[in-house]
C-alpha cells in the first residue's frame, strides 16, 4: 500500500512510502507499525490531529485498510 505524506510529514518522510497492510489491519494498528518504523515522525503518526485519508475521504481509526491502494496522512491545516 502506498502511503502519502503532506506538510511536515512530507518533510520528514518524503512524498510517499510503500508498506503492505496486514490482513484485517485498521488505521489505528497501521499507525503503530509506521511509528515503530519511522521513530523520527512517531509523534505525528500517532497523533489524532493528523488525520488519515483514503480515496479522498477522512477515515476513522477503525477503518479497515484491506483492498485499498493508498492511505494519506494529513497534519493540521493552515491556509489563508
Amino acid at each position: 500500500m502506498k502511503i502519502g505524506f503532506f506538510g511536515r510529514l512530507r518533510d520528514s518522510l518524503g512524498d510517499e512510502r510503500e508498506i503492505a497492510a496486514e490482513v484485517g489491519e485498521t488505521v489505528a494498528h497501521f499507525r503503530i507499525r509506521l511509528a515503530a518504523l519511522y521513530p523520527q515522525a512517531a509523534h505525528d503518526l500517532l497523533s489524532l490531529r493528523v488525520r488519515a485519508c483514503v480515496v479522498d475521504r477522512i477515515v476513522g481509526e477503525d477503518f479497515l485498510l484491506g483492498g485499498h491502494e493508498r492511505i494519506e496522512f494529513l497534519p493540521p491545516l493552515s491556509g489563508g
Partner: protein, 156 residues
C-alpha cells in the same frame, strides 16, 4: 463563483478589476488580501513561505468554503484565489472577494471565507527563515474565529 489555485505570483488589483467587471448591478464589494509577512511572529526574517497542498482535496476545500458562503449569505458573486507552492514576502497568498446588493452580506461573506480558509482550507504552510523551517498551525484565535460561525467545528 470563481475559485482557483495559483502557482505563480498574481496581481490582486487585476483580480479585483476582473471581479467587478463581471458584476451585474450589485452595490457592495468586499475584498480581502492576505500578504506574506516579512517577519515570523517570533520576529525572525521570513525568506519564503511554502504552501503544501493536496492534488484534489485542496481545491475541493476551497470550493466547499465558497459554496457555503454563497448558501449562507445573500451574495451574488464571489472569488477565491489561493497560492500554492513557494511564496515570497510581500506577495499575495490569498485574494477573496464577495459582492452583494448591500454591504453587510458582502462583509460577512468575506469575513466568513477567511475564517474558514484559515482552519479548513487544505494547505500546510511552512515558514523558511535563516534559522530553519517551521510548519504553521492555526492559532487559538483562528479556531475561535472559525467557531463564531457556530456550525460543527472541524477541530478534532
Amino acid at each position: 463563483m470563481s475559485v482557483r489555485l495559483a502557482d505563480e505570483r498574481f496581481a490582486a488589483d487585476r483580480e479585483l478589476a476582473e471581479f467587478t467587471a463581471g458584476l451585474t448591478g450589485e452595490g457592495a464589494v468586499v475584498s480581502f488580501l492576505g500578504i506574506a509577512r516579512p517577519r515570523a511572529s517570533s520576529g525572525e526574517k521570513v525568506e519564503r513561505l511554502v504552501l503544501d497542498h493536496h492534488p484534489r482535496l485542496t481545491l475541493g476545500s476551497l470550493n466547499e468554503i465558497a459554496a457555503a458562503a454563497r448558501g449562507r449569505f445573500g451574495i451574488s458573486s464571489l472569488r477565491i484565489v489561493h497560492r500554492r507552492g513557494a511564496v515570497s514576502p510581500g506577495e499575495t497568498i490569498v485574494f477573496v472577494a464577495a459582492a452583494a446588493e448591500h454591504r453587510r452580506a458582502a462583509f460577512e461573506a468575506a469575513d466568513y471565507m477567511m475564517d474558514r480558509l484559515k482552519t479548513d482550507a487544505m494547505f500546510w504552510k511552512r515558514e523558511d527563515t535563516p534559522g530553519g523551517s517551521r510548519w504553521i498551525e492555526p492559532g487559538e484565535e483562528d479556531y475561535s474565529a472559525r467557531e463564531r460561525w457556530n456550525e460543527t467545528p472541524c477541530r478534532e
